[in-house]
C-alpha cells in the first residue's frame, strides 16, 4: 500500500470516528445546552477535522467542518444561543459531513453548499453583535497538538478492519443511518508486545522442529513453508509496530525552542528523513537520549549570536535531526553547526577528574578522547545551567543506546560543529547473531558488533606484556582467547600478568584459529573461539536473577535443539577490557 493511501486510510478512520463522536455530542448537548465539556469537545473535533481535511486536500470536508467550528466558536463565547432550529441544522450538517467522508471511498457526489450557507447565515446573525476574538483558537490549537502527540506516544495505529456501530441520533431525518465500517483500529502497544513474544516462542519451536527433522534424515526444505510462514508472521507484526520517526522528531521544535530561550541563543531546527520507520519501543527508549543530545547541541554546541557573527557564521544556528536507514539499522544524527568539541579541553578535564592519568593523556588517541565524553562522571559543561545541570550525562545516553544493541559515535570539527550519530536496530525483537563453539558449548555474538571473521595461525599473533596482538587490514588489534576470559573468576583478573597468554602458550604452531573481530567504540578486538558456526536470527531473552549481572553476557537464547546459547555482551566486555587497562596504567 502506498503512503498516500495509508494516510487516506488513517484520515478516514479518524474522520469517521470524529463524525460519530459529533453525533453523540450533539445529542448530549441538546439535552443539556450548557454542557461546557460537550461544547469544547465539539469545537476540538471540528477543528481537527478541518485541519486534517485541509492537509489531505479534501476541500468539501474542510469547508463544512470549518463552518461548524465557527458556529461553536460563537457558542463557546456565549454569543450564539442554541435553540432547536440550530440543533436541527447541526444534525443535518453532521449527517452531510458523514456522507462527505463516505464519499471519499464511494466517489459519490454530495451536496453540502445548502447546509453550509444555512450555518453561515446563523453565524452572520450572531456576529452582528460582536467580533470574534482570535485568542481562543490559538489556545485550543496548542493544547490540541499536545493531545495529538500524547496519543501517538501511547498508541500505534494499525490497519485492520473492525466493526463500529454509530449511535442512533434522536433526529429522524430522511437521511438513512448506516453502519460504518472503519478501516483502522487502534491497538495498545502492550498487546503487540505480547503478540511479538508469542511469535518469538513460535520461532524457537519452529527451529526445534527443523533440527529434529534434519536429525531424522529429512531434507531441510521439507519445512520451508513453515519457515516462510513464521517469518512472514514475525515481520508482519514487527511492521505493525513501526512508527515514523517524524512522530518523535516533531516534538523537538518545542524542546529546542525552550533551550534556546534559556541559553539566549538563536537556533533553527531542521528535520530530515522523518518518514523513516522504526520500532515504537526503540523510539520510546531513545527519546530521552535524543532530548539530551539536542539540548547539548544548543547549550554546548551552538555559540551565542554575537560570537557567531564574529566568526562569520549566520547569526542563527542550525541543529539538524536526520534519520536514514540501511538494511536493519536506523541512523539518527544530531548535527549542529556550532563550536565543535575541543579535544584538548576534554583531555584536560579527564585528567582533572582522574579518568585517565597524565602520562596516558600524552599518548591517547583522538578517538579515545572522544569516548571519554561517555564516561560516567564526565561532564563537559563549564557552567551549570538549567539545561546542562540535569544529571543525565552522556554515559546515560550511551547506556540506553547500547541497551538495545545500538552504537553512538561522534564526529567533530573545531569551529564548525559536531555530529552525534546513533545507529539503532530498526526492530528489537529479533537480532542477527553469529554462533560459535567453545568447550563444546554454543555462544552467540550479535552481528551489530561483529566486524569480520578471520582465520589466523599462531605465528600471526604476537605476545606483548599486557596481552596478544595481531594485524587486521593493516591495523594492530588486540587478540583475546575467549577461553582465557571465561576461565577467570571475574573481570578484575584481566589485569593480572599473563592473563591473556595462557591458552596461547598451549596451542600448536600450525593450528588454524577461528577469530571473530568485534568492534566497540572504535576498539577492535579479535576473539579466538574453538569453532565458528552459522549465522542465525535469534530471539534474545534477558538473564534473570541470580545471574542477571554477569558481565560477560547480555542474555541468552534457546536454540533449535532446546539447548541454551549465551549471548556475549561485546560492549560490556570491551568496555571492561579497556577500562581495566586504563586503570592499570595509572597504577604504574
Amino acid at each position: 500500500m502506498g503512503k498516500e493511501n495509508e494516510y487516506k486510510e488513517i484520515f478516514l478512520a479518524e474522520a469517521q470516528e470524529g463524525h460519530e463522536e459529533l453525533n453523540n455530542l450533539f445529542t448530549e448537548l441538546e439535552k443539556d445546552i450548557n454542557s461546557k465539556s460537550a461544547i469544547n469537545s465539539i469545537f476540538r473535533i471540528t477543528h481537527t477535522l478541518k485541519g486534517n481535511a485541509m492537509g489531505m486536500g479534501f476541500t468539501e470536508i474542510a469547508e463544512l467542518s470549518h463552518v461548524m467550528e465557527d458556529v461553536f466558536n460563537e457558542v463557546k463565547s456565549s454569543r450564539l444561543h442554541l435553540d432547536s432550529a440550530i440543533f436541527s441544522s447541526l444534525f443535518k450538517a453532521n449527517d452531510i459531513l458523514g456522507q462527505l467522508i463516505n464519499s471519499l471511498n464511494t466517489g459519490e457526489v454530495v451536496k453540502y453548499k445548502g447546509i453550509k450557507t444555512k450555518l453561515e447565515v446563523l453565524l452572520k446573525n450572531a456576529k452582528a453583535s460582536e467580533i470574534v476574538s482570535e485568542d481562543t483558537v490559538k489556545v485550543v490549537e496548542t493544547t490540541l497538538t499536545e493531545t495529538i502527540t500524547q496519543v501517538s506516544q501511547t498508541e500505534i495505529t494499525t490497519t485492520n478492519t473492525v466493526l463500529e456501530t454509530i449511535e442512533d441520533t434522536d433526529e429522524d431525518d430522511s437521511i438513512e443511518q448506516k453502519i460504518v465500517l472503519s478501516d483502522v483500529v487502534q491497538v495498545p502497544v502492550r498487546k503487540l508486545d505480547a503478540l511479538l513474544n508469542i511469535i518469538g516462542e513460535l520461532i524457537i519451536e519452529k527451529d526445534t522442529l527443523v533440527a529434529l527433522n534434519i536429525e531424522r534424515g529429512y531434507q531441510s526444505t521439507d519445512l520451508a513453508r513453515l519457515h516462510r510462514i513464521t517469518s512472514d508472521l514475525q515481520y508482519g507484526v514487527m511492521d505493525v509496530r513501526l512508527v515514523q520517526i517524524g512522530f518523535l522528531f516533531n516534538k523537538f521544535h518545542r524542546v529546542l525552542r525552550d533551550v534556546a530561550v534559556i541559553e539566549n541563543k538563536k537556533v533553527d531546527l531542521v528535520l530530515e528523513g522523518t518518514e523513516i520507520e522504526i520500532d515504537r519501543n526503540i523510539l520510546k527508549i531513545m527519546s530521552d537520549s535524543l532530548v539530551h543530545l539536542v539540548r547539548n547541541s544548543v547549550s554546548h554546541g551552538i555559540e551565542s549570536p554575537q560570537k557567531r557573527l564574529e566568526r562569520g557564521k549566520p547569526e542563527t544556528g542550525k541543529v539538524t535531526l536526520r534519520a536514514s536507514n540501511e538494511k536493519d539499522t536506523v541512523f539518527i544524527e544530531v548535527r549542529d553547526d556550532g563550536n565543535g568539541i575541543d579535544l584538548n579541553v576534554i583531555k584536560r578535564k579527564a585528567v582533572e577528574k582522574g579518568l585517565i592519568s597524565a602520562d596516558y593523556a600524552k599518548v591517547i588517541s583522538d578517538d579515545e578522547i572522544m569516548m571519554l565524553l561517555f564516561e560516567p562522571g564526565f561532564s563537559n559543561a563549564e557552567k551549570i545551567t538549567e539545561v546542562s545541570g540535569r544529571g543525565v550525562g552522556m554515559d546515560v545516553v550511551r547506556g540506553s543506546v547500547e541497551s538495545i544493541g545500538g552504537k553512538i559515535t561522534i564526529e567533530t570539527e573545531l569551529g564548525k560543529g559536531s555530529v552525534f550519530t546513533l545507529s539503532l536496530p530498526s526492530s528489537m525483537a529479533v537480532k542477527g547473531a553469529l554462533l560459535f563453539e567453545l568447550n563444546n558449548q554454543s555462544f552467540a555474538i550479535a552481528l551489530t558488533h561483529t566486524e569480520a571473521v578471520i582465520s589466523l595461525r599462531k605465528e600471526d599473533i604476537h605476545k606483548i606484556s599486557t596481552g596478544l596482538i595481531s594485524k587486521y587490514l593493516g591495523k594492530t588489534i588486540s587478540i583475546v582467547f575467549l577461553n582465557d576470559l571465561f576461565r577467570m573468576r571475574n573481570m578484575h583478573q584481566t589485569v593480572e600478568e599473563g592473563a591473556f597468554h595462557k591458552t596461547f602458550e598451549n596451542i600448536k604452531e600450525d593450528q588454524k584459529l577461528d577469530v571473530v573481530i568485534v568492534a566497540y567504540n572504535k576498539h577492535l578486538v579479535g576473539f579466538v573461539v574453538d569453532k565458528l558456526m552459522q549465522q542465525k536470527e535469534i530471539v534474545e531473552k534477558a538473564l534473570e536473577s541470580p545471574v542477571q549481572n554477569v558481565e560477560l553476557f547480555s542474555g541468552a537464547t534457546i536454540l533449535g535443539d532446546g539447548n541454551i546459547c549465551l549471548v556475549l555482551d561485546v560492549a560490556g566486555i570491551l568496555k571492561n577490557l579497556f577500562k581495566e587497562k586504563m586503570n592499570a596504567k595509572i597504577e604504574i
Binding site: E201, I204, N439, Q441, L485, F486, R487, M488, R489, N490, M491, K541, L543, E544, S545, P546, V547, N549, V550, E551, L552, F553, A556, I558, G562, N563, I564, C565, L566
Partner: protein, 180 residues
Amino acid sequence: METTTEYTIEDVKRDAGKEVAKREHSERMQLIIFKLGSEEYGLSIEQIKEVVLTPRIAKMPQTPEHIKGVANIRGNIIAIMDLEQKFGLMKSGSLENNNNSNYTLVVESEEYKVGVLVKEVPNTLSINVSDIDTASNFVQYTSLDTNSVIGVVKSGERMIILIDMIKLIEAENLKETLTK
C-alpha cells in the same frame, strides 16, 4: 451433616471461634524434602513450582561455583544452583556423585525463578508449624545466611533443615552487589 433446623447466629459464631482456635493450634505446612550431603533439607511447597528431570545445563563463566549455569525449562531460561556446593556439604568423597543430580526443583516467586539440583526424587511431608525450631537458636554459619534458614523440624527420628529459597536468592543478590 446434622439436620438441626435451629441453627442460630450464636451457633455460627461459636463454630467459627472453634475453627480459628483449631487452626492456630495446628497450622499445617506442606514440605518438599530432599537430601543435600547427608542431611535432609526442606522447602515449603509454596515456593516450588515443579520438579523436573535436570535438563542440559549451559555453563556460565565468571559465576560463583554453586551456580551451575542456565537451563531451558519449558521455554524459560533459568539459573541452576547447587546448594551442596553453596553450603559446602560436598567436601568428603561426594565427588563421584557429582554428575548425579538427576532432578531439579523449580523455585518460583513473583520476582525470582531458579532451579535447585537434587539427587533423588524429593518427598513431601506435612508438618505442624509449631514443630519448627526457629533458627534464632543456632550459631550463625557464615555461608548459610541466617535469614534463609527458617529452622529445624523434628519428625520422629528425622531432622529436617528448613530453608527459605527466596530469602537465599535475595541474600545472594545483595552479596553480589556489595562485592561489585
